[in-house]
């Protein structure tokens, strides 16, 4: 029995190669169909995200495609020279492969540890492989255990709640604590920095869709607004935009404060006390810090968010050992179950070997006691069943115990010889 993973990730492989190796869902489906033809009887799940391309393979046989064969398969499929990629691919076997899968699914191997998307991506990869008939008993068990492990890590540790990028902290840890919903909120973006766009992405994930971009350069504002489905307004209309805003994301490159306390006070009169979340990501800051003292105004600068990110990072690091412990527990449990599966034929033969004499003795006894009523006969049958189960319990228990260390080959050999079982 073999379980293995061959692939590459953001840890060792440059993004240029990862991009060339990456599979769209359609292409992954084609690859899986092709895999089934090239390697019949070998279960496979192809996980392709922007940070990794991994092929999980498993078979009940004693041989599976090695790293070179997988490199050849991926290379031919993606029109890459296998020699170019084979050295960048890692390969893990058995427990290492399972531990890796559980770590990936739990988002502990992600570029941003704790990011939630990876679990959905693992699930989609598994479902795609199942749809295309590439999964089997081992991959079913492995991926279901991986999803369970990831859920345990999410519920028993706070890793997933600890965001470490400034836009994600701004939206998840602060904006969402102010607003219950974002679909009825007006977001005003000042400037058009990269961080502003990333923040818009997070806000749109939360449902925000009323976006106004204000920039000194109207063309630039229009460009950004079109990208995010918002509208652009000229710089002169900034006070009007501020008056109707609920969230402001400011990332201008201005060398001085663009909204002073006095200017804001004038705008505030028209806001009628509506709460306002201001994310001032510009350096130097675009908003006078005095504005943050106004009631129902929540003003955050890059430094404020950086402190929060650091705190999150520290707390997340403290949670890592607990998460790794869960992964170790789940890996050990899964591998024990997997090794125990290998003892299935022996257990079946053992049961069959005891079942036959039991049945013969039972029939002989019932023939000698013809006066027994149905209830008594049933009681005798149950008694024989209990006896066989009790006699079988010690060897079965030993097989399970030995399975925690690996496939119990020696014990299986001993049982075969002891009970004259066939290979």
């Amino acid at each position: 029995m073999i379980v293995q993973v061959v692939g590459c990730s953001h840890h060792e492989t440059a993004i240029a190669l990862r991009e060339r190796l990456a599979f769209s869902p359609e292409k992954a489906a084609e690859a899986l169909d092709h895999w089934r033809r090239v390697f019949p009887g070998v279960e496979a799940v192809l996980l392709s995200t922007c940070n990794r391309v991994e092929l999980y393979a498993a078979t009940e046989r004693d041989a599976a495609p090695d790293r070179r064969q997988v490199a050849g398969f991926l290379g031919r499929f993606q029109r890459l020279d296998p020699a170019e990629i084979v050295e960048t691919l890692y390969q893990f076997h058995h427990g290492e492969a399972i531990r890796h899968l559980f770590t990936v699914a739990s988002s502990l191997d992600s570029m941003v540890v704790g990011e939630p998307q990876i679990l959905a991506q693992v699930k989609q990869a598994y479902e795609l492989a199942t749809e295309h008939d590439n999964t089997g008993p081992i991959t079913h068990a492995a991926f279901q255990a991986a999803l369970k492990c990831a859920r345990r890590v999410a519920s028993e540790t706070a890793i997933h709640q600890r965001r470490v990028s400034i836009p994600s902290v701004a939206v998840a840890d602060f904006a969402r604590q102010i607003f219950e919903r974002f679909d009825d909120k007006h977001t005003v973006v000042l400037g058009a920095g990269e961080m502003a766009e990333e923040t818009i992405r997070y806000l749109q994930d939360e449902g925000a869709h009323q976006i106004t971009v204000v920039n000194r350069n109207l063309d630039r504002a229009t460009d950004v607004a079109e990208r995010w489905g918002g509208r652009a307004v000229p710089w002169e209309l900034l006070p009007e935009a501020l008056a109707t805003s609920d969230l402001i994301v400011s990332t201008t490159g201005a060398g001085e404060t663009i909204v002073t306390a006095e200017q804001f006070e004038r705008v505030e009169r028209t806001r009628h006390g509506r709460p306002l979340f201001i994310l001032d990501l510009a350096v130097p800051r675009d908003f006078d810090s005095e504005i943050g003292r106004r009631p129902d105004v929540y003003l955050y600068s890059v430094d404020d968010l950086r402190v929060a990110c650091e705190e999150n990072r520290r707390q997340r690091d403290r949670e890592l050992p607990a998460a790794m412990k869960i992964i170790e527990q789940e890996t050990t449990r899964f591998m024990a179950d997997l090794h125990h599966r290998a003892t299935g034929p022996i257990i079946r033969q053992l049961r069959a070997g005891w079942e036959q004499p039991k049945q013969e003795e039972l029939e002989r006894l019932l023939r000698r006691l013809p006066d027994l009523d149905d209830a008594s006969q049933e009681e005798v049958r149950r008694s024989f069943d209990r006896l066989v189960n009790k006699l079988l319990h010690p060897p079965l228990r030993s097989l399970r115990d030995e399975s925690t260390e690996g496939i119990p080959t020696r014990l299986m050999d001993a049982l075969r010889r002891l009970f004259q079982l066939r290979e």
Partner: protein, 322 residues
């Protein structure tokens, strides 16, 4: 079997849930949420059984005494808690609501009278409306108070730019502000109905030969004061600029709680004739403020006693519940 349910059963369940809620501040657990829900549901079940036994299986109706009134208020608040805990399992509602539930139970057991309110047949419906509306108003003010405290806590944290404390997650300010506004509206409507029903009740009693309406009674005065305050608060929140200022509404609900505390404190601690009390705390009959946690047969059928038959002519004429 229901007679075996004691106040201590559900009080202990709520205490366990509260302790589990506080333990969120100390450590994480994958099963705590389910355990909390289990204990809260068990507590509510026991609470319901206790009240049901009081109301149906014994010759008393709901809201028949001060103690009943407090225990039903606690029950309503516990229902609200269980609903919120079920739909928002990550939020720490229990840290704010459960102390109020336990305080109501404690006040009901330790301070409130377990003797029935005097009841004349003609005023029975009005008495029920009066008690029920005041009960609803009290629960609304308590919910508003909890939401107001949560709002101020959350707003202070956000102003200090601090991350949510592990184990103490609160709803968004928008959610809390909405809860505050709604609780104020429910509270003022219910209190208005309750006071109006109280006036009708007093008038009926007076026309039937009873004492006139005790307008200067401390409980009546405190309740009227609370009604005036709640009306003022609702008028203020109806103004757009105040309504949008969640912090202002939160302060209004917290002050409303102070008025409620004064009204309930007057009822429990001052010399009042409201609700049929004719005795000051110092000269209550022994057993009126008792610590009985068990539902004892002698404690649940006071209407049958001679003393209460004198206070309740309707019952002595055989018009009580079967």
């Amino acid at each position: 079997m229901l007679s075996g349910v004691q106040i201590v059963c559900f009080a202990a369940s709520y205490t366990v849930v509260f302790a589990l809620e506080l333990s969120r501040l100390l450590f994480r657990s994958g099963v705590r949420g389910a355990v909390m829900l289990g204990f809260a549901a068990a507590g509510l079940l026991a609470h319901t059984a206790f009240l049901y036994h009081q109301a149906v299986l014994t010759p008393r109706s709901p809201l028949s005494s001060e103690r009943d009134w407090y225990l039903i208020a606690a029950w309503l608040l516990a229902v609200v808690y269980l609903y919120l805990a079920w739909y928002y399992p990550r939020q720490s509602f229990g840290a704010f609501l459960l102390p109020l539930v336990l305080a109501l139970i404690g006040a009901g057991v330790l301070l409130a009278r377990n003797e029935p309110f005097p009841r004349e047949p003609a005023s029975r419906v009005w008495g029920m409306i009066h008690g029920g509306a005041l009960l609803l108003s009290t629960v609304a003010v308590l919910i508003g108070f909890a939401a107001g405290v949560m709002y101020l806590w959350q707003a202070a944290r956000l102003k200090r730019k601090q991350l949510p404390r592990p184990g103490l997650r609160l709803p968004s300010l928008e959610w809390l502000a909405r809860a505050n506004r709604r609780s104020l509206i429910v509270a003022v409507l219910a209190l208005g109905v309750g006071v109006a029903a109280g006036v009708v009740l007093g008038t009926l009693r007076h026309s039937g030969g009873g004492a006139p309406l005790p307008w200067y009674d401390p409980v009546v005065l405190a309740t009227l004061l609370m009604l005036v305050w709640l009306l003022l608060a609702v008028v203020l929140t109806a103004r757009g600029d105040v309504s949008r200022r969640g912090r202002a509404v939160a302060y209004l609900t917290v002050v409303s709680f102070v008025f409620l505390a004064i009204a309930l404190g007057s009822m429990l601690l001052l010399d009042t004739q409201h609700g049929g009390r004719e005795d000051a705390p110092g000269n209550r009959p022994s057993g009126m403020v008792d610590n009985e946690f068990a539902l004892k047969p002698t404690g649940i059928t006071p209407l049958d006693s001679t003393e209460h038959a004198v206070h309740d002519p309707g019952r002595s004429a055989g018009e009580g519940r079967a």
